[in-house]
Symmetry: C2
Subunit: 280 residues, 2 copies
DNA sequence: TTGCTCCTCACGTCACGTGAGGTGGC
DNA sequence: TTGCTCCTCACGTCACGTGAGGTGGC
């Protein structure tokens, strides 16, 4: 029989851990002195302790270990191991990704010598029903789009107001076609509730489907000249993180009321992306 | 300005997270209604939120993020990233190892169709001072060793008793040479304190150095026939976990008093190992 | 008697999730 | 007035680490 300190040394665990295992009933000392409360462990219990440590090394929780050491069939154990394998593999993937991201940032610091952009994230865009007005546009950028989207937004808002349709989110622009072939169409969209309504031309109802992954960056008070820089940063980020652009983006106007100055203009740029090499 | 729910949706985080970030001062709402306590976030604050989310994705703690977003020089940031990279790499190595272990167990189940041994662990053996008596031995196994070690242990204990040397651990056997060439020497050892003492022949004082990694398994009540099976299990485990044997092992007698029956015999088998491919 | 070991609370960790119980705004 | 959103506590999570304050054993 060993006192707790000696048993802990033999098993290479802390005394506190042994007390904890006792507390939760995972490893109860062979004897407990009724007057002093001193715990005494039998030599053979080191086998149990080893088993606990071994399972902990596999990443099992104490609760799972409890289950394994008590009564588990071979099939159950196999199931647990398969589950564990999947979890570890997922965790590995996450960490692998993180490592790549940290390294990308470090490279960016070494090369550019200044703070890398750390305000770009990946997020999911929910499916939503929107009211839209589409208009042909000569190209991207606020200079091309503002004169088209601003009146369209006012008109769309007016239409929705007269029909009593509730607006449930921020206005955003989205795009189809491309400027080089002269087929670019700019849509201004306003999220609305799921109720069925009919809208007069040129307004339409569109159900946008979910976008699983989109890069998102928010610009506050950016001027006309600022946008190409942001686009370049986004493109570099996408490249450095092994994504590729998967369709036209959206520009979400976070200040719904029309801005007084550039300072007030807050836009979230959302570009759908996918991991390089992953099929659509 | 957005109410907390809308802002949470825009940032793809939970309302509770925003409250938590407020609580710790990481992201304070632009305005708080003094009467209702309602939080209001400015559109431009989405940039801050994105930054927080991006840094969290790298695995930084909120405290570290606090530091980064407040005031951090490029060099400090670089330092943090380098540290983070090292931590992730270490974590990756651990998970990689775990995955290999889980897979080894699964293979073992598939092949053998029964419970794999889950009571084998790797531990460090501390450096320690021992009193020993060495004797030539014909081979390994209890049959060969017991007749040699048992009287040697009694003699050694007697010597220590007469010299008033304190025994601070369990007796164990360790070995040098090998049986094939007839050079095997079996030592019985008793851990003693660090004080300088002289012992009469055949007892000696030896300072055993630390063994960084040793596999450890505890056998309780194993009979003569049981040992070859355990050795086979150990060898399989070592192989499956990409270790190799790195020297003679030790047999630690966990029941210090001489056993009455085989049932009472509890031995911890310790074999020094090293990862395959890692130099000594 | 002096160290050393042991004991039992009980708080702290980290980033929130999850009620409980109550109120504001349309 | 009815939902919906918001508010503030406050406990729970996981496996212990780390004192505080006190006692047993050689």
């Amino acid at each position: 029989m060993f006192r707790i300190g000696e048993f802990a040394r033999l098993g290479a665990v802390s005394v506190r851990s042994l007390r904890h295992y006792h507390e939760i009933g995972l490893l109860v000392p062979a004897e407990i002195d009724p007057t002093t409360g001193y715990r005494a462990y039998a030599a053979a219990q080191l086998t149990s302790l080893n088993r606990i440590v071994a399972l902990k090394d596999l990443g099992f929780s104490l609760e799972q270990i409890q289950h394994v050491v008590c009564d588990v069939t071979l099939d159950e154990l196999r199931g647990m191991l398969i589950l564990r394998r999947a979890q570890i593999a997922e965790d590995l993937a996450v960490q692998h990704d993180r490592l790549a991201q940290v390294e990308a940032r470090l490279r960016s610091i070494e090369k550019e010598g200044d703070m890398p952009r750390d305000d770009i994230v990946i997020k999911r865009l929910r499916a939503q029903r929107v009211a839209v007005i589409g208009s042909p546009a000569p190209g991207f950028g606020p200079k091309n789009l503002a004169p088209i989207l601003t009146p369209a937004l006012q008109r769309l808002a007016e239409i929705l107001r007269t029909r009593d349709v509730e607006i449930v989110g921020n206005a955003f622009g989205y795009y189809e076609g491309d400027p080089d072939s002269g087929t670019l169409v700019a849509y201004i969209a306003l999220p609305i509730g799921p109720a069925e309504v009919a809208l007069p031309d040129p307004a339409q109802i569109v159900d946008l489907s979910e976008v699983e992954e989109a890069v998102s960056v928010v610009t506050a008070g950016a001027t006309e000249d600022g946008f190409p820089l942001i686009y370049a940063d986004l493109a570099r980020w996408i490249d450095a993180h092994d994504y590729e652009i998967a369709g036209h983006g959206r520009d979400v106007f976070l200040n719904t009321s029309l801005p007084e100055t550039d300072e007030d203009l807050v836009i979230e740029i959302q570009w759908p992306v996918r991991k390089v090499g992953r099929p659509i």
